[in-house]
Point group: C2
Chain length 340, copies 2
C-alpha cells in the first residue's frame, strides 16, 4: 500500500473549502495568538514564534470556529477560545518533543534541539497558562471546565503512552484509550466549547463533542499510519519516529497480533527485539514497514480511521443543513485522506 | 556568618502557631490534594505521592487558608483554591527539577532521577491541569484570573532566570524581577484569592496581595542565602545547587559588585570562571562561600529579606487585630528566620 501525498492541496480540497469560509475568523484568531505569545522575556516569543508561527494546520481552532458558526453564535468569545485551544496544543507539542526527543516538528527542526529542553518545557508552561488567561477573559466557566478537564485527560494519556512504551503486548483497547486521551480529548473540547458559548443546549453540545472525539481518533490513526507509510514533507515530522521510540501504535498492534495468530516466529521475534528489547539497527524500519504492508496493517489502520470519520459525520445529523455543516463534513473527509 | 538551623521547631515557633490554628483546614486541603492527584494511570499518583506526599511546608496553601480566615470567609472554596495553589507549586517544582537537573527535593531524591524527565514533565502538566479543574469548581472567575495570571508570570520568571544563567553581569534589578515572578507571584496570588472569595473589597485584596508578594521575595532571598550558608537537612535540597548551575543570586551579585568596586582581580577572575565560563573544580564552592562571607554578602541578602518582611507585615495594617492577623505576622517572622 502507498499513502499518496499532496503537498499543496488544490483549492477544491476539503480543508481549503473550510479555510476559505473561515478566513476572516482565523485572521482574528491568529492576531490573538500573536499578541498573547508576546513577553518582555525575549526567549518566549522567539521560541513560540518558531512553533506557533510555523503554522501547522490549525485544525483544532478551526473546529472551534466552525462549530461556533454551526451553532449560530454571534459573539466574539470563540476567537479567544480558539486561540486558547491552539495554545494548549502548542504547549503539549513542546513538551512532547522533549519527552519523545523529537528531531522535527511542522517541517522544522524541533524547538528542543535549537533552544534545549529547558526552554521548551518552560515556554510550554507559559503557553498553557496563557491559554487559561484567555479562557478566563471569555467569562465562560463551563468552557473553562471543558478545556481544563481535557487538559488533565491529555496529560493522563501522555503518561499512559509513556508507561506503555516498548510494551509489545499493548492491546488495541489500551491504544484506543491512549489516543482518545492524548489526541481526541482536545478535538472534542475544541468543538464542544462553541455550543456552550452559543447556548445551544446539551444535545448539540453532546453532538459536537462526539464529532470532535471521533475526528480526533481518526486523525491520530491516520497519523500513526503515516509514521510508517508517509513522507516526511507531508507529515512535517520525521518518518519512523514512533518506531524508533518503541511506541506501540495500531499498525504494529495489528501486525503483532497477526504474527501471534500465525505463530510466525521470525515476525514475533522481530517485533519483540525492536519494541520490547528496543534493539534496532539499520534496515529495521524498512523491515517493519514491509511486515506492516504484508499484513495490510496500514490499510486496516486507515480503515479504522474511516469508521470513526463516518461516526463523526453522523454525529452532525441533528444540525440542519448549512454551509458550515458541509464544511465540517468535508473537514472529516480531509482528516481521513489527510496527507498534507 | 553562620546560618543556624533547627530541624525540629519547638511548638512555640511562629509556623507551629499558624499550623496549630489551621490544623483542621489543612486536613481538608490535604484530603483534596490526595483525592485529586489520583488517576487510573498508576505512574501519576506514584510520582505525585513522592513529591506532594513528601510534605514540604505547605506555606502557599497555608497563606490561602489564613487569608481566608483573616477576611472572615465562611464558605468552603478556600480549601479547593489552597489545593490548587499547592498543585501549581508542585507542577513548577517537577518542571524546575528537570530544568535544573536537581538531585534532591524536599529531602528526597528528585522525581526526575527516579522516574526520568518525561514523567516529571507530564505529571507536572497533569497537576497543573488539575489545579485549574479545582479552580473552575469554585466558580470564581476572579480567583481563576488571578491564579492563571500568576501561572504565566511564574513561567516568564523561570525563562528569564534561564536566559540569565551564567551571566555574571546580571544586575540586582533583573534578579529581583526574576524572583518576583518565579516565586513571589504565587505567594501573592495565594493570599489574594481569599479576599476575593470573601468579597472583602479591593483594598483588602491589594493588601493581602502585597503581603504575599513581599513574603515571597523574602522567602526566595533567604533560600538563595541558604544555598550557600545552610545545611542540606534544613534546605531539603542540595547545598550549592545554585552555584553548580551557574545561577546568579543576590549573594553572588553583591560579592561580584564589591569585587568590581575594589578592582579585586582574583575575586573577579574567580566569579567569571565559575559563573560565566562555568568551569568549576573541587574546592570552588568553599572558595565561593568564603568570598561571600568576606563580603558579608549572605548577611546583606538576609538583611534585604528582613526589609521585605517588614513591608509584608505593614501591609496587614488595614486589618483589625485577630488571631489570624497575629498568625500571618508570625508567619512572616518565620520566613525571615526560616531554617527548617
Amino acid at each position: 500500500m502507498t499513502i499518496k501525498t499532496k503537498t499543496k492541496p488544490s483549492t477544491s480540497s476539503p480543508i481549503e473549502h473550510l479555510l476559505a469560509l473561515a478566513t476572516d475568523d482565523m485572521a482574528q484568531v491568529d492576531a490573538i495568538i500573536l499578541e498573547r505569545m508576546q513577553s518582555p522575556v525575549g526567549m518566549i516569543p522567539d521560541l513560540a514564534e518558531h512553533l506557533v508561527g510555523a503554522g501547522g494546520k490549525r485544525l483544532r481552532p478551526l473546529l472551534t470556529i466552525a462549530s461556533a458558526h454551526l451553532c449560530g453564535y454571534q459573539g466574539e468569545h470563540h476567537y479567544k477560545l480558539a486561540a486558547a485551544v491552539e495554545f494548549i496544543h502548542s504547549a503539549t507539542l513542546l513538551h512532547d518533543d522533549v519527552v519523545d526527543r523529537s528531531a522535527k516538528r511542522r517541517g522544522k527542526k524541533a524547538a528542543n534541539l535549537i533552544w534545549g529542553n529547558a526552554p521548551s518545557i518552560l515556554v510550554g508552561d507559559f503557553l498553557f497558562a496563557r491559554a487559561f488567561n484567555l479562557m478566563v477573559e471569555t467569562g465562560s466557566l463551563v468552557a473553562l471546565g471543558i478545556l481544563s478537564a481535557a487538559s488533565s485527560v491529555i496529560a493522563e494519556g501522555e503518561v499512559q503512552q509513556l508507561a506503555g512504551l516498548r510494551d509489545v503486548e499493548m492491546t488495541k483497547e489500551v491504544y484506543m484509550q491512549v489516543i482518545g486521551a492524548k489526541t481526541a480529548a482536545l478535538f472534542a473540547a475544541a468543538a464542544e466549547v462553541s455550543p456552550v458559548l452559543a447556548g445551544s443546549g446539551s444535545q448539540k453540545q453532546a453532538a459536537l463533542k462526539a464529532y470532535g472525539q471521533e475526528l480526533g481518533l481518526a486523525f491520530q490513526l491516520v497519523d500513526d499510519a503515516l509514521d510508517y507509510g508517509g513522507f516526511e514533507a507531508a507529515l512535517g515530522k520525521s518518518v519512523g519516529d514512533d518506531f524508533r521510540e518503541g511506541k506501540m501504535t495500531l499498525p504494529v498492534i495489528i501486525a503483532y497480533a497477526n504474527a501471534k495468530r500465525k505463530s510466525d516466529k521470525p515476525a514475533l521475534g522481530f517485533w519483540q527485539r525492536v519494541i520490547s528489547d528496543h534493539k534496532q539497527s539499520s534496515g529495521d524500519l524498512e523491515t517493519a514497514t514491509d511486515l506492516l504492508k504484508q499484513e495490510n496493517a496500514l490499510e486496516a489502520t486507515l480503515g479504522a480511521a474511516r469508521i470513526h470519520i463516518k461516526t463523526a459525520k453522523l454525529s452532525l445529523g441533528i444540525f440542519p443543513d448549512s454551509q458550515w455543516k458541509t464544511a465540517l463534513i468535508r473537514l472529516a473527509d480531509f482528516v481521513a485522506e489527510r496527507v498534507s
